[in-house]
Amino acid sequence: MQWSIETRNLRRTFRDRPVRRLFRRAVGTKVPDKVALESVNVTVKPGELFGLLGPNGAGKTTLIKILSTLLLPSAGEALVDGIDVAKDPDGVRRRVNMVSGGEHSGYGILTVRETIWMFSQFYGVPTKVAKKRADAMIERLNLTESADTKTSKLSTGMRQKMNIIRGFVSDPKILFLDEPTLGLDVGIAREVRAFVSEWIKEHPERTVLLTTHYMAEADSMCDRVAIIDQGRVLACDTPANLKRDLAPDCVYQIEVPLWTETISPLDQMPVVRSVAMEHRGDQGRTHLRVILEEEGGIASVTDRLAKRGARVLSMTRLEPSLEDAFLNLVGHGLSSGNGENGAR
């Protein structure tokens, strides 16, 4: 089978800059290379909307940069549509496009339509075709009123809609979306997600690789998700299967009075597989999301909380979510919250 994207033992490290390295060597200190990706093996089928889920610094953007030919791998291979990114970058470039969250591409002096047209020219799209495609997407993303506005006058949300169109206007075979809803408000983030999902339904032969740290975004949009942390892929499956891996009756949300200590009150309990704390200072409460090793372990958890003086204010058993699957694999929650910007 020809994969849309395939990585084999992909590794990427970053070295200190030569002058700093020399200086450090001179003073006798050695700084090891920073490992951004370690033995990453990922395969994405044509037609898939594939998610890379991980916290900031997990290696998601590094992987996208390698796949989009902006970075070279330190070791291993990365193939896009069967083409090696290191050996034939031009071949890869003809097949891909990329949109990043918080992107400020283009020139403030051009209008939205002109910006989209300009970028389409870099992919050789004939002007008539580019304008037709752009108009259709502008309408679908409710950008018509701003279409002839200079991009310097656009709001963040409008700008990101334009960026999305910029990425799609070349009709790429494989599209990389790097945190495309980052910093967007609820409504616009939903519009963007709906647009991407519809596009891939209408173009079943196309592939989208989406990185996100919004759990619910990955859950609702992606056919399969790879959970990545500290440069390693910890799991890769459909969101449903990732959640199914958790035993039933094992996920609880417990509310206790504000817990100010850095160490969780459930620290080092053999029955607890992982726990994420979320402080709600305004309410004077802390939410503990607990994943148990086995059913029936909840009694010992409440005992421990009582002993530590963390009175249980409320306790809810939860259906395992993708966040729980993530917590289960990584051992900690994402730094940015679950379901932000209306990902649910």
Binding site: S68, S100, S105, Y107, M118, F122
Partner: protein, 272 residues
């Protein structure tokens, strides 16, 4: 092959469009870009007048004022532009596009030439009118040829410099700043470059603008002594060599720097 060519031609036009539109949408740019360089040219012209220098010196200065516009466009609006593109996030979008980096630079050059040509023409017209400069063009054909070759060589040099900006960003910016005044001096913008002495003038001719300016002066002030560096034909030959050399070197340097940047991870690193 044909698709590649079409895509690259479209890319050139796409990138040039920004400059062409920019010239029309921000008329204030035109005012500042004409008025400020004129001040420098006027200063030198007044000095030459004041000290009773031969009248063609005033003409040299006016022509140089126009040519400086092109030089600044190359250095600041093309070579250094890669630094700004990197900061703005455009560079990575250019780099993932299936086009030659030269096409992007060519687009900047073509668009910049359009914008700068208007600016240079205005400088030339105003300067000529204010100081009553008279020209005696010996050959329009040769003049056009020299101008085209000079542009080919200096834009090649600009593309070569852009490879440094692409990778080193702000560091290259400082270096370019450092070289600005010495380049103005060595190209003989405001005086015949022969005044630097034979050796000095030879060394200065490594900058193609020096040769171009010298040849243009010979061609448009043909009735007056201009103390040339070489004959027009020799200078044209050297400009052909420079055009080929700088453009070839730019192509190689862009590839090399891009590869280096992809290895080190600095290619898309902002704020450096």
């Amino acid at each position: 092959m044909r698709t590649n060519l079409t895509t690259n031609l479209r890319a050139i036009w796409g990138r040039a469009y920004v400059r062409v539109v920019g010239a029309n949408r921000e008329p204030s740019w035109l005012f500042f870009e004409v008025a400020l360089p004129l001040l420098a040219s006027f200063s030198f012209a007044l000095i030459y007048r004041g000290m009773g220098a031969p009248e063609q010196y005033v003409g040299f200065v006016v022509v140089s004022g126009a040519m400086i516009a092109f030089w600044q466009n190359i250095l600041w609006s093309m070579a250094a532009q890669f630094y700004w593109e990197k900061e703005m996030g455009n560079l990575e979008l250019y780099l993932i596009a299936p086009i030659s980096r030269m096409s992007i630079l060519m687009g900047m050059a073509v668009g910049g030439l359009f914008m700068t040509a208007i600016r240079a023409t205005l400088i030339l017209l105003i300067g000529t009118w204010v100081f009553g400069v008279t020209y005696q063009v010996s050959s329009w054909l040769l003049l056009t040829g020299v101008f085209v070759l000079t542009m080919g060589a200096v834009y090649g040099l600009g593309m070569l410099s852009s490879s440094l900006f692409m990778l080193f960003g702000r560091e290259a910016w400082h270096t370019a700043n450092l070289f600005q005044e010495p380049v103005y001096f060595a190209t003989g913008f405001y005086f015949p470059v022969r005044a630097l002495g034979d050796l000095g003038a030879m060394l200065a001719s490594a900058i193609p603008l020096t040769l171009g300016l010298d040849a243009i002066r010979q061609l448009i002030f043909s009735g007056t002594p201009v103390n040339p560096l070489f004959t027009v034909k020799t200078e044209m030959l050297l400009l052909v060599v420079a055009t080929i050399l700088f453009n070839w070197a730019a192509l190689r340097a862009l590839r090399f720097m891009e590869n280096l940047g992809k290895q080190s991870g600095r290619l898309t690193l902002k704020g450096q």
